[in-house]
């Protein structure tokens, strides 16, 4: 009976704040439309949203990671500067959600240009031992990543620290339980918008536009 007992006395389940979707009408927290963009969403004939948004301040620890070209990158230099930043945690063998996360970046690359040209996209591997810089380069090619898209790997400890800094550490010490987050930050800001859930291209563009225009006021 050990097996069942083991299964029953299970590890604590994490409660993560996600809206079930407006269709099911089970919004849990963090109303999405509580901002000036609500008008645009209404125009979009009430399409259901599958993500939530919060505003956060993060302190990013200094560390040197390695990019897809095998070059060292100071993370604070990359993230704390006068470029708007879009950031995600992914890994290259992840089959279900990471391809979608990265595909959202890929398909928004062009449109983001026309909003604020000098953005920086960052995908950080949460499976750094598997994802060497060469593997990241192949992944970047798959998604036709432009020069503005940096993919990063490092040691396990570095990545774990970074995930904690972004409050993105997965439960159960198993990367397979990671959740889909996208983080947006305006130039020279320490405020981040944290989006949880999978986005459409349009979602990402709108959110980006809002972050950028917010900072310009």
């Amino acid at each position: 009976m050990n097996k069942l007992r083991q299964a029953l006395f299970t590890r604590p389940r994490v409660l993560v704040l996600i809206i079930l979707s407006l269709v099911l009408g089970a919004g849990v927290t963090q109303p999405i439309a509580a901002n000036k963009f609500s008008s645009i969403q209404n125009q979009q004939n009430d399409k259901p949203k599958y993500y939530t948004r919060t505003r956060q301040t993060y302190v990013i620890p200094e560390m040197i990671l390695v990019n897809q070209h095998g070059k060292n990158v100071h993370i604070t230099e990359l993230l704390n500067n006068d470029q708007p930043v879009l950031l995600q945690f992914v890994f290259t063998t992840c089959a279900t959600i990471c391809p979608v996360l990265s595909a959202t970046f890929a398909s928004a690359q062009q449109s983001l240009q026309s909003i604020a040209t000098n953005y920086r996209m960052v995908s950080i591997s949460i499976d750094p031992e598997q994802d060497t810089s060469q593997t990241l380069q192949e992944y970047a090619n798959r998604f036709k990543a432009s020069a503005q898209w940096t993919l990063l790997t490092g040691t396990r400890d570095q990545i774990a620290r970074l995930q904690r800094a972004f409050n993105a550490y997965y439960p159960g010490n198993n990367k397979m339980y990671h959740l889909p987050y996208t983080y947006l930050r305006a130039a020279n800001s320490s405020q981040w918008v944290r989006l949880e859930g999978l986005l459409s291209t349009q979602n990402l563009i709108e959110e980006y536009q809002q972050v950028v225009s917010h900072s310009m006021q």
Binding site: M1, N2, K3, L4, A7, L8, T10, R11, R13, V14, L15, V16, L17, I18, I19, L20, S21, V23, A26, V28, K47, Y50, F91, T93, C94, A95, T96, I97, P99, V100, A103, T104, S107, D127, E129, Q130, T132, R142, T155, R156, Y170, P171, G172, N173, N174, K175, M176, Y177, H178, L179, P180, L198, L199, S200, T201, Q202, N203
Partner: protein
């Protein structure tokens, strides 16, 4: 014959076989007419590779507005080979096996149990599990609508993660024909009462290592079955959910498949064993030389081959059924190469002498070193190969006669660890630094002169003893209480890891006895708390084949007792 069976149809129970035949004929007829055009094999290609029958890539849109074509988003990515779906990042991918699509959705709590209790899931996910939308069985028409428009058989909009595919009718028919075959039957190696496993062991395996592995496995099976029998005999014991699990209980049966003689004949020997009694999976195992013949057998027969003890795994990105602890000697060679290049970074000229045995155990790592170094113009690499002890000695002698002592010596002794180490003992200052594989540590002579000790470095793809893992203590206690002699800790702990992972995997798949599903569980769950401390970390992911990815460089400690000390970080080449 058809008419005869038909006329006998209702004449009594002793004609049951005839009735069956008729039924089979009828089913066959229906299949023939309805599937005259469709090609499940092409449907499988579409499911797994995203390729249309025209040879072009399939196009689709996910999340409403992300268009793509190609293998990135083929069905297999999300629904997996087994079709049982997956749960990743809190997104639950519904199963698309034939039994689940072509039946109304009901609440089978046993199957939901896994998702609800074994995994960390965000609230949205558990909500989806507690209130799955009921829906009728799919028809070909409603299934096509789900795949093209993302609307299920109840008319409900599916989550936009499920892409909308642009499929020509012909390809749709092929795909549906394939889905009708997906995970319809239990895989071979399991019957109503028993699940069959095998382990593989070749002749010439050291008897201590053989016994260490087999005793651990036999005790594990014995205790598993004792627990199962106890549960089955005691029906009143159970809480209310138990009846839903009873269908999953099987006695575990272990066959030891002994391989003899020439490795070229192993595949055939395996085939004979398999014909006598098919197995659901092969667990652990040890062979002399390369594991390749066993891997080839497993891939051909689609049998999970889980965590054998081998330094020569077959490295093949397309493999779907073989998982290993690590890349073995080719990993050790890559780590040594990386360490040398880092250590010598400031030198304009790095001189390396490499001596290797002409067996696989020597050639595989030597080739890896040659490969890494060949494009580095700072490196000068001299190779010496030997086929037997006499040749080894003459090569080493030649080397000691070169009046300038080599700076870096890399040795791959293969089966000749003892001889190589003895020679080093007599010639401790042969080179400034000598790199050796971890296996040489098993053949260390008694007293090593300190002049040699200081010069020797080993690749070490394991955890170093100074680090305590919480699970190591539990595994030790388990072995003690079962009266298992721990004669080869790493080998036995690793065997135990493989067994517990299979045990958890079978718990999770309940009675969906699909080998693919088990593999998917193992890929998903290798990175959990079961690591017995033999490696710093064990983890897989979809399609990953090697659970541990790096190695330390270690030296021998100054005193005799404390083994090895890491002189590098955990290096990932």
């Amino acid at each position: 014959m058809n008419t005869q069976t038909a006329s006998n149809r209702f004449t009594g129970s002793d004609h049951l076989p005839h009735i069956l035949l008729t039924l089979i004929n009828m089913i066959f007829f229906v299949l023939l007419t309805s599937c005259a055009q469709s090609r499940p094999d092409l449907g499988k290609q579409l499911y797994r590779e995203g390729k249309l029958s025209s040879g072009e890539s399939v196009s689709a849109t996910t999340q409403g507005d992300i268009s793509f074509s190609g293998t990135q988003f083929s069905c297999v990515n999300c629904h997996r080979r087994s079709g049982y779906g997956s749960s990743e990042g809190g997104n639950y991918v519904l199963p698309v096996t034939a039994p689940s699509l072509f039946n109304p959705r009901t609440l089978d709590r046993a199957n939901l149990f896994k998702k609800m209790f074994k995994e960390y899931q965000p609230k949205r996910f558990t909500a989806r599990m507690h209130m799955p939308q009921m829906r009728p069985a799919y028809t070909d028409k409603s299934l096509a609508r789900a795949i093209r428009e993302g609307i299920d058989s109840a008319g409900t909009q599916l989550n936009p993660l499920m892409p909308k595919y642009q499929l020509p009718d012909e390809d749709m028919a092929n795909l549906i024909a394939y889905l009708k075959t997906l995970s319809t039957m239990p895989d071979p190696g399991v019957d109503q009462s028993t699940i069959y496993f095998a382990t593989v062991i070749s002749d010439k395996i050291d008897s201590v290592k053989r016994r260490a592995m087999l005793q651990t496995m036999r005790k594990f099976f014995e205790w598993m079955n004792r627990d199962t029998r106890g549960d089955l005999r005691n029906p009143n014991f159970s809480p209310h959910y138990r009846t839903e699990f009873i269908k999953a209980y099987r006695v575990w049966n272990l066959a030891v498949w002994e391989l003899k003689g020439d490795p070229q004949s192993w595949q055939q020997q395996l085939q004979v064993y398999y014909q006598q009694q098919p197995v659901f999976a092969i667990i652990s195992g040890q062979v002399t030389g390369a594991w390749k013949p066993v891997q080839t057998f497993c891939e051909n027969m689609e049998i999970p081959c889980l965590f054998p003890h081998t330094a020569l795994p077959e490295i093949d990105k397309k493999s779907a059924y073989s998982v290993y602890f690590n890349r073995g000697l080719s990993l050790e060679a890559d780590v040594i190469a990386k360490q040398i290049i880092q250590q010598q970074a400031d030198k304009a000229n790095i001189q390396i002498t490499q001596i290797y045995s002409a067996e696989q155990e020597g050639m595989t790592p030597a080739d890896a070193i040659n490969n890494t170094m060949k494009n580095n113009n700072h490196v000068q690499l001299d190779n010496y190969v030997f086929h037997d002890i006499a040749e080894l000695q003459s090569q080493l002698k030649k080397l000691s006669e070169i009046h300038e002592r080599p700076d870096l010596l890399v040795l791959w002794p293969g089966a000749y660890s003892r001889e190589v180490l003895e020679w080093l003992q007599d010639n401790p200052t042969l080179a400034n630094t000598v790199y050796l594989p971890s296996k040489a540590l098993d053949a260390l002579p008694q007293a090593i002169p300190s002049s040699l000790k200081q010069r020797m470095l080993f690749s070490y793809p394991y955890e170093v003893a100074s680090v305590q893992h919480p699970r190591a203590y539990r595994v030790h206690a388990w072995m003690n209480s079962r009266g298992i002699e721990v004669t080869d800790k790493r080998l036995q702990f690793n065997t135990y890891y493989a067994l517990t992972l299979v045990q958890y995997g079978l718990d999770a798949i309940v009675d969906n006895f699909s080998r693919d599903y088990l593999m998917e569980y193992i890929e998903h769950e290798a990175e959990n708390a079961l690591n017995p401390g033999t490696f710093p970390r064990l983890s897989l992911g979809p399609g990953q084949r090697f659970a541990s990815k790096g190695a330390y460089i270690v030296k021998l400690s100054a005193d005799e007792e404390s083994g090895v000390i890491a002189v590098s970080d955990w290096i990932i080449p």
